[in-house]
């Protein structure tokens, strides 16, 4: 029991010998083996996955931004198209209104002119008829006067 804790004694808790350097060599070798078999391959896989996730995420973000951009673009186009359609409709309405008015005015003026002509014709015929009648009645009056005078 006296040599229980003593250095250099036979046995004991603090019995240093060639176990120490050999264990150190063993651990160093184990370090290199684990580096090749464990740390490098697993690290590669983990880092590849991290890269993959990062790249996928940034790609997804890019795609999302692209989609949002396209959506905004299309919204703008849609708005422009609506405005254009509105404009076309307004123009068409104005055009048709104008045409209608023109046609109406034309028809009115034609109707007026033909009515005017008709009235003029009627006036002319009436005048001529009155003249005729006047002439006829004068002739008849003359004739009646002649006959009466002749009888006497």
């Amino acid at each position: 029991m006296t040599s229980f804790f003593l250095f250099g004694a036979e046995g004991g808790l603090f019995d240093f010998d060639a176990t120490l350097p050999l264990m150190a060599v063993q651990v160093v070798i184990l370090t290199f083996i684990l580096n090749t078999l464990f740390f490098k391959p697993v690290g590669q896989v983990v880092e590849e996955r991290e890269d993959y996730v990062t790249v996928s995420r940034s790609e997804a973000k890019q795609k999302l931004a692209e989609a949002e951009r396209l959506e905004a673009d299309l919204r703008g186009q849609l708005k422009d198209a609506r405005l254009a359609a509105q404009k076309v409709i307004t123009e068409a309405e104005q055009d048709s209104d104008k045409l209608y008015r023109e046609a109406l005015a034309l028809a009115n003026s034609e109707a007026n002119s033909s009515r005017e002509e008709a009235r003029r014709e009627i006036d002319a015929q009436r005048d001529s008829a009155l003249n005729q009648l006047k002439a006829d009645s004068e002739k008849l009056g003359d004739l009646i006067v002649e006959r009466l005078l002749a009888v006497q």
Partner: protein, 241 residues
């Protein structure tokens, strides 16, 4: 010598006895190497099985390995810093995994059922040789990290922020491995002893909470060792302004 027959009359409780192997004129502790090979074997099996067929969608053991990798990376990155943590991650990770599996193996595997001619199997980290070896590796690592990153400017660290710090920093170079090795050694050995003593005194129920505590301590010690190792390396490579 080393058994405690006069306190606990049980022949099985042996402390400080080793199974000596003779390699040329070198003597080594056989039981430490036997369990350390089992630990290394378990680690390598896990790693080989888990990395056999790795996919981007992890399944099975790959999940566990990736979790461990991530955990070790976070540990190394927070302690060492973004710039050089990659170089030291394998070392920190190996320390953590080796100590963790050793500690848990010592706590979970009923080694006492295997009888050795002398000494007994247990966690490799319950032997002072292992913990000192690990601690010295940490010391070498942080010196190497500092010198390779900053060259001779590394020694500015000793007079930072004032030259008064010089003796303390030099003492620190000795206390760092000392505290690292003794903390791990003491915790694991104490845990094994407490469990063993309790098992011999009260073989039922009572040792179980202590065993759970031992598992907790084991995990914490592995984390502490790895974190401190990373912190020392980080301290050595840190740029002063």
């Amino acid at each position: 010598m080393g058994s405690l027959p006069f306190i606990f009359p049980f022949a099985e409780l042996e402390v400080g006895q080793h199974l000596y192997w003779q390699l040329g004129n070198l003597r080594i502790h056989g039981q430490v190497f036997m369990t350390s090979w089992i630990v290394i074997g378990a680690l390598l099996t896990l790693v080989v099985v888990g990395t056999k067929k790795m996919e981007r969608d992890p399944r099975g053991v790959q999940n566990l390995l990736e979790f461990l990798w991530d955990y070790i990376r976070d540990l190394a990155r927070t302690q060492i810093g973004e710039k050089v943590y990659r170089d030291w991650m394998p070392f920190i990770g190996t320390l953590f995994l080796f100590i963790f599996v050793s500690n848990w193996g010592g706590a979970l595997v009923p080694w006492r059922l295997i009888h050795l001619p002398s000494g007994e199997l247990g966690a490799p980290t319950a032997d002072i040789n292992t913990t000192v070896a690990l601690a010295l590796l940490v010391s070498l690592s942080y010196f190497y990290a500092g010198l390779s990153n900053k060259g001779l400017r590394y020694f500015e660290y000793y007079v930072h922020p004032t030259p008064i710090m010089l003796p303390f920093k030099i003492v620190e170079d000795f206390t760092k491995p000392l505290s690292l090795s003794f903390r791990l050694f003491g915790n694991i050995l104490a845990d094994e002893l407490v469990v063993a003593v309790l098992v011999f005194l009260v073989p039922l129920v009572l040792p179980v909470p202590v065993m759970f505590l031992g598992l907790f301590t084991s995990a914490i010690q592995a984390l502490i060792f790895a974190t401190l190792a990373a912190y020392y390396i980080g301290e050595a490579v840190e740029e002063h302004h």
